[in-house]
């Protein structure tokens, strides 16, 4: 075990980033075109980085897994994006956004990174408005804000329920402008399957061309991974189908440490599971909790329809337990409380694994048209999926895996433990600690891509002497051969079980033992079951079709193979972290009232895992966390 250095600049927290920008080395504009930068993933983080670096004059290659960058997973974000603009004059500031994010993350994030995030948040909004992102506006013509996810100020900017889509179209268009200008080369339908490290530095990647099956080598002076999160390790999550840990995991196997894999976020308001055919879960924006009231029947086994249950037989449990935050209690807290109700046997619906989110009172108070103006599209979506009309009957919701705070470890430069490998957006671990606040992921992805990487990458390139390498280099050949062998192996097993069935079973194990509640016995069980499942996968998986043409089953097989390794590390990390914090709830570590109990004496660190050989236990490294500006305190929402 070693101690990791986050390379946090010296000085006061307010001055660190400014000072960094002054101290950093610059690449002269004329020289930028001599540098090749690869950006993997074209969500908010990747598209914004590719666009900005292209504008600066770097030679950029963007790797897009989809048919178009506009389809990247960020497109699905609904609720909004935070920024400390204080346009509402309600007391917001960089300082407050910083404070809220550190506290919301349950004191497991790096202060310096969070402060920088809060600082650049204001520039993001300006940039997006200039691009023509049609944010919601008031009748004055000025930008509208709402309060979101338990924040006590209105700092969330939004574009109806499609904020992610609109922000992504902004970043995507900016990138397409650089494609037209030939500053960005866009490679479609490519999946990164390996990182190539030469002389200890990231020098390129190996991709599979999903259309031809060709294994391609791409050389670079720096590589940015912006490949999103790993919620799909749970099989059912709100993430898009192509979201996977593969890119991050392959980099991990090449030496990039993986930090805090057990920090996963379970979002409280999703449409519950309907049956065995279910392929993914749908989020209902948490903005609904501004007007909806969450409840279950007071009595176990109350089989009456919701409208038949009178007021005195309802338990509005969030309002009861958290009088000051009520239905707006933070995500981790709300999710856990829903699970408790279901565990008590007070869940609703035909499966008993759901709670009500009821708009009856809001409709009484404000009228149906006001509710429809606020949530019309969400109500419609709910109706489409469930066949129920939420104007007439309460929604049924249940928590679902949604976001992963863990990810590749990065220092203040957003650089991983492999020099030249940068990690942005949800794929890194940096800013949200053990729990992410609503509307902060979009902010972080765009902060990384527009305003941080363009500086830190320049600093890296200007300080490094990089030898020229070609794709004929041994390291590229060795890596490409390895990937080809893996593909051949998967195709040749010809077993009896589909990829899907392995993924489902892994999901069942991780959700059961490493989901909303975790304990030693369960985690140990998962740690014996997952390796067995992995073993079976490599002996009994059935991948149909050919490897030299489009083959979605083969793509999935590669991704599930990685989840089968990463899921194990997630449980390992959850087992070692005996405290509860944020989204990581160890049942052994709770207060008498069932709230998460942190252990700052023993666990105030980032856990960063180093890959060893296959089937060897990974080695834990620590980065100690220091809280000099926000005092370590118990997070309370009572």
């Amino acid at each position: 075990m070693s101690t990791l250095d986050g390379k946090i600049p010296a000085g006061n927290i307010e001055e660190k980033w400014t000072q960094y920008k002054f101290d950093m080395k610059l690449v002269n504009p004329a020289n930028r075109r001599k540098y090749n930068v690869i950006v993997v993933g074209t969500g908010l983080a990747g598209a914004s980085a590719a666009a900005s670096l292209g504008e600066m004059g770097y030679n950029v290659k963007a790797i897009c897994i989809h048919e178009s960058p506009r389809r990247a997973h960020s497109v699905a974000a609904q609720g909004g994006i935070n920024a400390a603009k204080n346009y509402q004059n309600d007391g917001d500031s960089v300082q407050r956004l910083f404070y809220d994010t550190v506290k919301g993350g349950d004191f497991r994030a790096r202060e310096a990174n969070v402060h920088r995030l809060a600082e650049v948040s204001v520039n993001i909004i300006d940039q997006c408005v200039a691009q023509g992102v049609p944010f919601a506006r008031d009748y004055s013509g000025l930008l509208a804000n709402r309060s979101f996810g338990g924040a006590q100020v209105s700092r969330t900017f939004y574009a109806r329920g499609q904020t992610g889509q609109q922000l992504l179209i902004g970043a995507y268009s900016a990138m397409m402008r650089q494609v037209e200008a030939k500053q960005v080369e866009l490679l479609y339908r490519r999946e990164m399957l390996d990182l190539v490290v030469i002389d200890g530095k990231a020098r390129g990647i190996i991709c599979r061309n999903l259309l031809t099956g060709e294994i391609e080598s791409h050389v670079a002076d720096a590589v940015i991974l912006a490949t999103g999160g790993y919620s799909n390790v749970f099989y059912l999550s709100t993430n898009a189908m192509a979201c996977a840990v593969t890119a991050a995991w392959r980099a991990h196997r090449r030496g990039a440490f993986f930090a805090n894999p057990c920090y996963t976020q379970i979002h409280p308001t999703c449409i519950p599971v309907h049956g065995d055919n279910q392929s993914k879960l749908t989020l209902m924006s948490e903005s609904l909790r501004n007007d909806g009231r969450v409840w279950v029947p007071k009595n176990k086994g109350d089989a009456r329809l919701p409208h038949q249950i009178p007021e005195e037989d309802r338990d509005y449990y969030l309002e009861r337990i958290y009088p000051s935050f009520g239905n707006l209690a933070p995500r981790d807290v709300s999710s856990r409380q829903a699970k408790y109700r279901v565990d008590e046997g007070r869940g609703v619906g035909s499966t008993g694994v759901a709670v009500y989110l009821d708009f009856r009172d809001a409709i009484h108070r404000l009228g149906e048209s006001a509710i429809s103006a606020r949530y019309g599209n969400l109500f419609q979506m709910y109706d489409k999926i469930t066949g129920d009309n939420p104007y007439k009957t309460p929604m049924m919701i249940y928590p679902a895996p949604h976001y992963t705070m863990g990810g590749l470890w990065v220092d203040y430069n957003l650089m991983s433990t492999i020099p030249g490998l940068f990690v942005a957006g949800e794929a890194n671990f940096s800013d949200h600690g053990a729990n992410r606040l609503g509307a902060s992921a979009l902010m972080q992805g765009l902060a990384d891509g527009y305003f941080i990487l363009p500086y830190t990458i320049g600093n890296y390139l200007a300080s490094m002497k990089l030898d020229k390498v070609a794709s004929t280099h041994e390291a590229f050949k060795e890596s490409a051969q390895g990937i080809q062998q893996e593909v051949n192996k998967l195709m040749s097993i010809k077993g009896n079980r589909t990829v899907e069935s392995f993924h489902k079973e892994l999901g069942r194990l991780t959700w059961e033992y490493c989901g909303m509640g975790r304990n030693e016995a369960g985690l140990k069980k998962a740690l014996t079951e997952i390796p067995k499942l992995r073993e079976e996968f490599w002996n009994n998986v059935k991948v149909p079709g050919e490897s030299n043409y489009i083959n979605p089953e083969l793509e999935k097989a590669c991704r599930v193979a990685d989840f089968l390794e990463q899921g194990e590390l997630m449980c390992e990390d959850a087992l070692h972290r005996k405290e509860s914090c944020g989204g990581h709830f160890r049942e052994e570590s709770q207060t008498s009232e069932g709230e998460a109990q942190r252990d700052d004496t023993n666990f105030c660190y980032v856990a960063a895992w180093e890959w060893q050989d296959k089937n060897k236990k990974q080695v834990l490294h620590k980065e100690e966390l220091h809280f000099d500006n926000v005092k370590l305190a118990t997070r309370s929402y009572k």
Binding site: S68, F135, R177, V179, A240, N277, S279, I385, Y549
Partner: protein, 265 residues
């Protein structure tokens, strides 16, 4: 949620199978048994594919990702209708409760010259990206923006721009048009930016370049039948096409006049 109303359906799918852009395709029938009315259309296809794989066959290929109606990946013809029978709904958001036990459902890919078939129900819509890269943006580099609130925009205009900007680039409009025209898609982008102050500077070049690219990609002309808007999952309005036409005429005339002036001088 397994609603109390959930039923089980047995269906037959008649699916267009084509192994590559140049190969010949044909319809093949598959049973879809034991499908819950709560399942989505794509979940039904997943179930059929699991059976095909178990039987040693080659699963049906289709594009999809978000399964929430927002990424624009999914889309094919269901019984001759783009995205199927339900209005304002992508295939991934269409649920099986809109079908009846015993139905035979015909699935075909988008058919348009500018969208070559990759395999089965999957087509290549990168032509739409090239239309965007020809001018579908405001040219503003990172870091040079003024304060967001220094550009007030009338709420009505902002809302209308937003409506146009909700296009997901699925290509249903092209697929349902007998001329395979991309006017609704391009009209949506041109409208989004023409309605906003940020879009004014490049307003004329934008429309000229995007229309030129659209033609270059081989998309057809518009003959005002409105099939595009009727099949659009995001209800992009036909007024966007009218605006596109107006913007195009205005920009062409202005360009002509400027060219002449420059020629004179």
């Amino acid at each position: 949620m397994a609603s109390t109303k959930a039923k089980i359906l047995n269906l037959v799918l008649k699916v267009w199978r084509q192994s590559g852009p140049k190969s010949e395709g044909k319809f093949v029938e598959y049973p879809a048994k034991g499908i819950s009315t709560d399942a989505s259309f794509l979940e039904m296809l997943d179930a059929v594919n699991e059976h095909i794989i178990a039987d040693g066959g080659d699963p049906i290929v289709f594009d999809h990702d978000c399964r929430e109606g927002i990424c624009g990946s999914c889309g094919f013809m269901i019984d001759g209708q783009a995205h199927g029978p339900l209005r304002s709904t992508t295939v991934c958001q269409l649920h099986m409760r809109h079908f009846n036990d015993g139905d035979k459902i015909v699935l075909e890919p988008w058919r348009a010259q500018s969208f070559p078939i990759i395999k089965d129900l999957m087509v290549d819509r990168t032509a739409l990206d090239r239309v965007v890269s020809s001018g579908g943006y405001v040219s503003v580099n990172t870091g040079c923006a003024q304060d967001g609130n220094s550009i007030p925009i009338r709420k009505r205009d902002a809302d209308e721009a937003f409506e146009a900007a909700t296009c997901i680039g699925c290509g249903a409009c092209v697929a349902s048009c007998k001329n395979a025209s991309a006017m609704l898609f391009t009209g949506a982008k041109v409208s989004h930016l023409a309605l906003l102050p940020q879009g004014q500077i490049e307003r004329e070049e934008r429309v000229l370049n995007m229309v030129a690219q659209m033609d270059k990609e081989g998309f057809g002309a518009c003959s005002n039948t409105g099939a595009c808007s009727a099949s659009c999952p995001k209800d992009i309005d036909l007024t966007t096409i009218a605006r596109l036409n107006r913007e195009f005429v205005k920009a062409t005339v202005n360009k002509h006049n400027t060219d002449q002036k420059l020629g004179d001088g």
